[in-house]
């Protein structure tokens, strides 16, 4: 039988058995609930869509409404009441127009509101003066027709926006990779230990080589991790677009490709390491201790990634070439534009080679450790045991 078929069989079992398990269903549901609450709850407090309320002297209400119609800023004009000043103080109203030449603004009113209102009032004043000067209505309409002024932002501003979006996207990728490895890496280690504790590994390894079992396990649980990520991610995006709380960054295509490539490389690198770790212990309780060095490396690389986001530095620069750190740091250095093309090429090459190397190393430790019973297999013993296989 082809080894690919075997690996696929193993991966499918690991995927579907876990997919049905209560643990997976609950953890997915729990995460979805958390994500939904994080995305949706802010919308209850968000008043972004509510119109800005202003009060104007009775005669000015209608002309002001007309002047303010069709603006991007939604402004509701109401008649001036005795308590309007009070409402202005409380922030319910943002501006009061007691007469055509007076405008009092509340604390919350921004510069944009001010300029909009001043413009609108100016139009009214001009209209008044035009009438006094005897200018005809149609001439007036022509005079005050939309001047159609095109506003252009200086290009550096646009680039900055784009850079910020890319940086944000890259950092999001790094955070996601960090969380995925910590969570799903542990799943892989536990999956390996589960087969050891139930002793089923003896039957399986009497049939298929250890390397294939490891590959199948990583693929199966990796696919499951990806499925959960998709479910949670899709929920977040849908909720966000419904609730309009999150704008998806306008990232360039290359940034997306970079994040995905680094995610796959990083996940594979660490997943094999977690599988090897699982093979060295025999009890679920030991999984966390055994994985501690890996967790430390991850935390350090996360910290360096954060520093790289703030600005390029020597540590980040060096670390972006070192396999355990590169997957979290390089995407960020790429997004900030600090990494030269040759640096990116070198780092990806080193990382790719390391993934291959790590897979071999992990397979060997796994092979040596997986059949070990009792307390803990030392890495050196596992290495030696595997050599004699």
């Amino acid at each position: 039988m082809k080894s690919r078929t075997t690996v696929a069989l193993i991966a499918r079992r690991d995927f579907f058995e876990r997919l049905r398990s209560k643990a997976f269903v609950f953890s997915t549901a729990f995460t979805v609930v958390i994500v939904l609450s994080v995305v949706i709850i802010p919308t209850f407090f968000d008043d972004g869509d509510e119109p800005i309320r202003i009060a104007a002297e009775a005669e000015l209400v209608a002309p002001l409404r007309q002047a303010l119609d069709g603006l991007e800023l939604l402004i509701e004009v109401e008649g001036l009441e005795p308590d309007s000043t009070e409402l202005l103080d409380e922030g319910e109203l943002e501006a009061i127009v007691p007469s055509i030449r007076t405008l009092s603004l509340g604390d919350g009113a921004g510069a944009q509101l001010e300029s909009v209102l001043v413009t609108a009032l100016s139009q009214l004043v001009f209209a008044e003066r035009s009438a006094e000067l005897g200018i005809q209505g149609d001439v007036l309409a022509e005079l005050f027709a939309d001047p159609e002024i095109v506003v252009e932002y200086e290009s550096s501003q646009a680039d900055e926006d784009k850079d910020a979006a890319n940086r944000g996207f890259a950092f999001m990728g790094t955070v996601l990779l960090f969380i995925s490895i910590i969570t799903y890496g542990q799943w892989i280690a536990l999956g390996v230990i589960e087969e050891k504790t139930s002793r089923v590994v003896e039957v399986v390894l009497g049939t298929v080589p250890a390397r294939q079992l490891m590959a199948g396990k990583i693929l199966g649980i990796g696919a499951l991790a990806f499925a959960q990520l998709l479910i949670v991610g899709a929920t977040a995006l849908i909720a966000a677009s419904v609730g309009d709380t999150l704008t998806i960054p306008d990232a360039a295509g290359t940034a997306i490709v970079a994040v995905v490539v680094w995610f796959v490389l990083g996940f594979t690198f660490y997943a094999t390491a977690y599988a090897a770790t699982g093979a060295l212990v025999s009890r679920q309780e030991d999984a966390q201790n055994a994985a501690f060095p890996l967790t430390m490396v991850l935390v350090v690389s996360y910290a360096i990634a954060t520093s790289a986001l703030a600005g390029d530095n020597v540590v980040a620069r060096i670390a972006s070439f070192l396999p355990p750190f590169a997957p979290t740091i390089m995407p960020i250095r790429m997004a900030t534009g600090d990494a030269a093309l040759w640096e990116i090429a070198a780092s990806v090459t080193i990382m790719f080679a390391s993934v291959v190397g790590m897979t071999r190393l992990a397979a060997r430790i796994y092979t040596g450790g997986i059949l070990g019973v009792g307390q803990r297999t030392r890495m050196r013993d596992a290495w030696r045991m595997a050599r004699s296989q």
Binding site: S198, E202, V208
Partner: protein, 295 residues
């Protein structure tokens, strides 16, 4: 044919296998015996690559065993283990497919075997919901499902009641009769004696005795002479050859040389009174085993 040739394996200062060599032919059902710690499990695991011998070779039909040969082997390890939370039918289909069966064939064989083992109505139960005995049956089914050419079972009779022993015996005989090479380890020597034509006995990592059970027993220099007697004078048995193990006025059981002249003994006993019982037997397998191991 399975052939283990001069296997050696040490774990630190412990020698598990010390030049162990034997073979199991197709169509034969062989009992693999030895005291605790003799190296039985190590030898069996070496067939599946679960142990790597320090030296020596394991071959099937004259070729070294690789992953593709193992697909045609069935193994029931000493430490039982399957996936506790997986449905048993699914589990069997999974292992069948790992052994290279197609999906439809694996499903068909699973249904047949579960039926044969009396577990058809439990097909959808998870393994952990089954009793110990039934879990053992599923473990056996995992080894049998793909109709292996070589079947290696480590203590398959352990923990079985007499009915379970009888039905497993029948299963193993049927597999051997249909051409598979079957070898199993056991401490239940009476079961082995009733079931196997051949045995291999290992002690301290090396084969101490092997061959046909009947031949091994009769090659012993000892025989058991047992006589039941009525109407003889007391002390009648003193005229019999050998040394008595049990003696009374109407019964004696004694150890005699294998080459004693049986007609002469029978004639002499007949002179003493009325014979109610007479047997002349080689040692049981269990006795042969103890003799070899204590040597």
């Amino acid at each position: 044919m399975l052939e283990l040739r001069d296997l050696n394996k040490t774990y630190g200062s412990v020698t598990a296998l010390d030049g162990c060599s034997f073979e199991i032919k197709r169509g034969s059902l062989v009992g693999f015996l030895g005291p605790n710690g003799a190296g039985k499990t190590t030898a069996m695991r070496s067939v599946f690559g679960l142990v790597t011998p320090d030296s020596g070779s394991v071959s099937w039909d004259g070729r070294p065993i690789t992953a593709s040969e193992r697909l045609r082997f069935g193994y029931m390890p000493e430490q039982r283990g399957l996936y506790p939370r997986m449905q048993i039918a699914q589990q069997l289909v999974y292992f069948g497919r790992l052994h290279g069966l197609g999906k439809a064939e694996a499903s068909r064989l699973t249904a047949e075997l579960l039926d044969e083992l009396g577990l058809a109505d439990r097909a959808k139960d998870r393994l952990e919901e089954l009793s110990h005995g039934n879990q053992q049956r599923v473990q056996l089914a995992t080894a049998l499902l793909h109709n292996p050419e070589l079947l290696v079972l480590d203590e398959p009779f352990g923990g079985l009641d007499p009915i379970g022993v009888a039905s497993l015996s029948g299963l193993l005989q049927a597999r051997a009769a249909s051409g598979a090479a079957v070898v199993f380890s056991s401490h239940q020597l009476d079961v082995v004696e009733g079931l196997c034509e051949e045995v291999v006995v290992i002690n301290r990592g090396a084969v101490a005795l092997e061959g046909n059970v009947r031949d091994l027993r009769s090659s012993s220099q000892k025989r058991y002479l047992e006589v039941g007697m009525r109407g003889a004078e007391s002390g009648w048995h003193t005229s019999l050859p050998g040394s008595p193990l049990v003696a009374s006025d109407h019964h004696v059981r004694s150890v005699v040389d294998a080459d004693v002249d049986l007609p002469t003994v029978l004639a002499a006993v007949n002179e003493l009174g009325t014979i109610t019982d007479f047997s002349f037997e080689p040692p049981t397998l269990s006795e042969v085993f103890r003799e070899v191991v204590n040597r």
